[in-house]
Amino acid sequence: MVEGARRGLALERLAITHAGRPLVALDIVVAPGEAATVMGPSGVGKSTLLAAVTGTLDPAFAMTGRVRLDGVDVTGLPTEARRIGILFQDELLFPHLSVGGNLAFGLPAHVRGRAARRARVEAALERVGLSGYAGRDPATLSGGQKARVALMRMLLSEPRALLLDEAFSRLDAALRDQIRRLVFDMARRDGLPVLQVTHDRSDAAAANGPVLELHP
């Protein structure tokens, strides 16, 4: 770790331009266990901002500034080496894998042995009240169940930061509150810095952290 560098997720003078026109500019540090929210109407570049953080920015955009994770500059790293997890508004469970297969996909290869991997998957399912669901087809799950599987798949991959891209907007009101609390609680317990983008004030309130407004 770089001496004196702050822990957590830091976007240092991050600026994204499209065809030379400025789109988003941000300078923020999210501490471990803290959940920051970027708010703004659709089309303001919220998802583009997250694409810059995960390293999947479309070539039509250009960015300056750095992304640091626990002091390490990850700006030049490919997505899979950044260890930044992301949840979308769709769960994006892989339809060809079982629920357990989806979780095992997220589990790093350093967890060796069939039995050990299966135990980790089963423990993760148990944590979200889905014991015994490992063999299920993800297409047969309810919306709330899918959201929980997507969350555990992401956590099993041992990320060091978490991004939420309108992650709760598809869920109905009752479920939304429940899943939201689950996500933020688990992130806090694991000491993950969370950066969410949303257009919904209640998401920001649930995050209980700093809020940044983006304007068109």
Binding site: P59, D90, G106
Partner: protein, 579 residues
């Protein structure tokens, strides 16, 4: 995009010096190299230059010899006439079918029949049609003797008529499904439903409204397939040998006869004929383009005239479209049934509708040899298809990882092997192979098949590949999976169905290839297709039935597998079972 720009892209692809970025160039080389080399190998001998056969000087003598051949005018006119007629009729039929019936139950039935119709090789379909319309075919038998008074097959030239009518109809029956498939793909992009609804809300009849409001956009998208149909219909060899006239035959067939002549001097004339065939196709494409402009101008005037379409005309046009679609499907399916019956027919007198007895004797007698032919067909088809799929997936993955997205113009390159007449470059390809002493064996045939399999595999796979939700890629990468793991563990399994379909299309294209196998294989590589077409002149219906049916089955089996395998493999995966 320059390498520097790629490298600077944050988290972008790592340039590990791997082969993937070269995939598009390699694919183009594999596809267009043989075409270019073949054309070069045609031009030389056409002007007397072929050192291997003692031609060391450039001369116009060969061309003069070609033009002195008495059948030339007729052969050329046949090529041009059949090409224009088959293309115009197929296009008109498809336009009427879509204009009059889109969104109806009848249209749904036609869509379902499309894949099996497309999979039937041209030669098998041509044999089936020949059996139907022959003087002793099912049509004559059904009408005799009560309607015709015929007690024995009439002395009429119904198949192989001198004007090429049977040849034209045979081509139309097979080109309607092809153009229909291309039109359906174009419709999805052209937001056609809104256009058609808007026109009908303005008081236009179903057919008139569609032709005026939607067809111009759709035609722009299917222009290249239409050009491919025109070029193919002008220069087809196998269908013309089965359904076309023989004295003289269309130019392409005559060229192949010269190529196969024991008198090697006629190789020069074959090259000249092949070059003329190319010139005819290019000229015809030019004329068609001028026709497009003229029709477009007239069409605009017609659209701006505001006529809503008289109800009687609307009905007539809709019925014409339905009749064309039904006849095309019936010609192919009834033709296959005819082949099947002939293959097991015992004694069968005219005008009985069915044979007196059924026997497996023909199948049994030719079984072992047929097995060997099918094995060769499958080997070549599988090799060409696997190579085509590897190159296609590599191209599409390079496009995904490195942003190497081809320009719209590049689509032309994909269609080039389908538009350049086979006979024009395959004769040269064979001549070149002769010059460099290349053994015209199985490997060479596979390379030649690949030229035609590749475009179809690419066209079939590109749309579903690009339509895949890229957020799955981001999700998998954020879970720590590298690009290779995403490809093998996520994208390919999710795209299993379109991959299998593309494979089936490629295999069917390979099975259907007659000329590449014949010319590049130097007569030593024999597939079920070359054997079936070779039987055409013999006229043993039972034998033809067996081989043509085997050819159709060889093309159809992979399509069945492409439908059934995903259902089996994904039986526990609801989201993928009926992708």
């Amino acid at each position: 995009m320059s390498d520097a720009a790629l490298a600077q892209r944050p988290g972008g692809p790592r340039l590990r010096g791997r082969a993937l970025p070269w995939a598009p160039a390699l694919t183009l080389a594999v596809m267009l190299g043989p075409v270019a080399a073949g054309l070069a190998g045609t031009v030389g001998p056409a002007f007397g230059w072929m050192p291997a056969l003692g031609g060391h000087t450039l001369t116009f003598e060969v061309m003069r010899g070609l033009f002195d051949w008495p059948g030339l005018t007729r052969a050329a006119l046949l090529s041009v006439g059949v090409g224009f007629a088959a293309t115009a009729l197929s296009l008109a039929a498809v336009a009427l079918i879509v204009a009059g019936w889109r969104g109806t139950r009848a249209f749904g039935a036609m869509e379902r029949a499309l894949s099996p119709l497309l999979s039937v090789p041209h030669a098998a379909a041509a044999f089936g049609l020949a059996f139907l319309i022959a003087p002793s075919g099912w049509v004559a038998r059904a009408l005799s003797p009560w309607a015709t008074g015929w007690e024995r097959p009439p002395d009429l030239l119904t198949a192989q008529d001198p004007a090429g009518v049977a040849l034209t109809l045979g081509l139309v029956a097979k080109e309607i499904p092809f153009l229909l498939l291309m039109t359906l793909a174009a419709l999805a992009q052209a937001r056609s439903a809104q256009g058609a609804t808007t026109a009908r809300a303005l008081g236009y009849g179903r057919v008139t409204g569609w032709l005026k409001a939607v067809f111009p956009q759709v035609y722009r998208q299917i222009r290249l397939p239409v050009y491919a149909v025109l070029a193919y219909s002008m220069s087809v060899v196998d269908v013309a040998m089965i359904l076309g006239p023989s004295t003289p035959p269309p130019l392409s067939v005559q060229v192949v006869r010269w190529m196969g002549d024991p008198d090697l001097a006629l190789r020069f004339r074959a090259a000249a004929g092949a070059l003329l065939q190319l010139a005819l196709v290019l000229a015809a494409l030019g004329v068609w383009r001028l026709g497009e402009i003229a029709v477009g101008r007239l069409g605009r005037r017609w659209a701006e005239g505001g006529g809503r379409g008289a109800p009687a005309v609307e009905t007539a046009l809709r019925l014409a479209g339905l009749a064309a679609g039904l006849l095309a499907a019936l010609a192919v399916f009834a033709g296959l049934a005819g082949l099947a019956v002939w293959s097991v027919a015992g004694f069968w007198t005219f005008p009985d509708a069915l044979p007196d007895a059924l026997t497996l004797r023909t199948w049994e007698r030719h079984g072992p040899r047929l097995g060997a032919l099918l094995a060769e067909t499958a080997l070549i088809g599988a090799a060409a298809t696997v190579l085509a799929m590897l190159l296609t997936v590599a191209c599409l993955e390079a496009e995904h990882r490195h942003g190497l997205r081809p320009a719209q113009r590049a689509l032309w390159l994909l269609y080039l092997p389908l538009i350049a007449p086979q006979v024009a470059f395959l004769t040269g390809f064979q001549t070149l192979a002769l010059v460099v002493g290349l053994d015209g064996g199985r490997a060479a045939v596979i390379v030649a098949h690949l030229v035609f399999v590749l475009p179809y595999v690419f066209l079939s796979l590109a749309d579903p590949w690009r339509a895949w939700d890229g957020r799955f890629d981001v999700a998998a990468r954020a879970l720590g999976a590298g690009p290779d793991r995403v490809l093998w563990a996520v994208r390919l399994p999710m795209l299993l169905r379109p991959l299998l379909t593309a494979g089936a299309v490629g295999f069917a294209v390979s099975v259907g290839q007659y000329l590449p196998t014949l010319l590049v294989g130097g007569g030593r590589v024999q597939t079920v297709t070359t054997e079936a077409v070779a039987l055409a002149s013999g006229g043993d219906r039972r034998l033809i039935g067996v081989h043509a049916l085997a050819q159709a089955a060889a093309a159809l089996v992979p399509f069945l597998a492409a439908v059934l395998l995903p259902r089996l493999i994904w039986r526990d995966r609801k989201a993928l079972r009926h992708g």
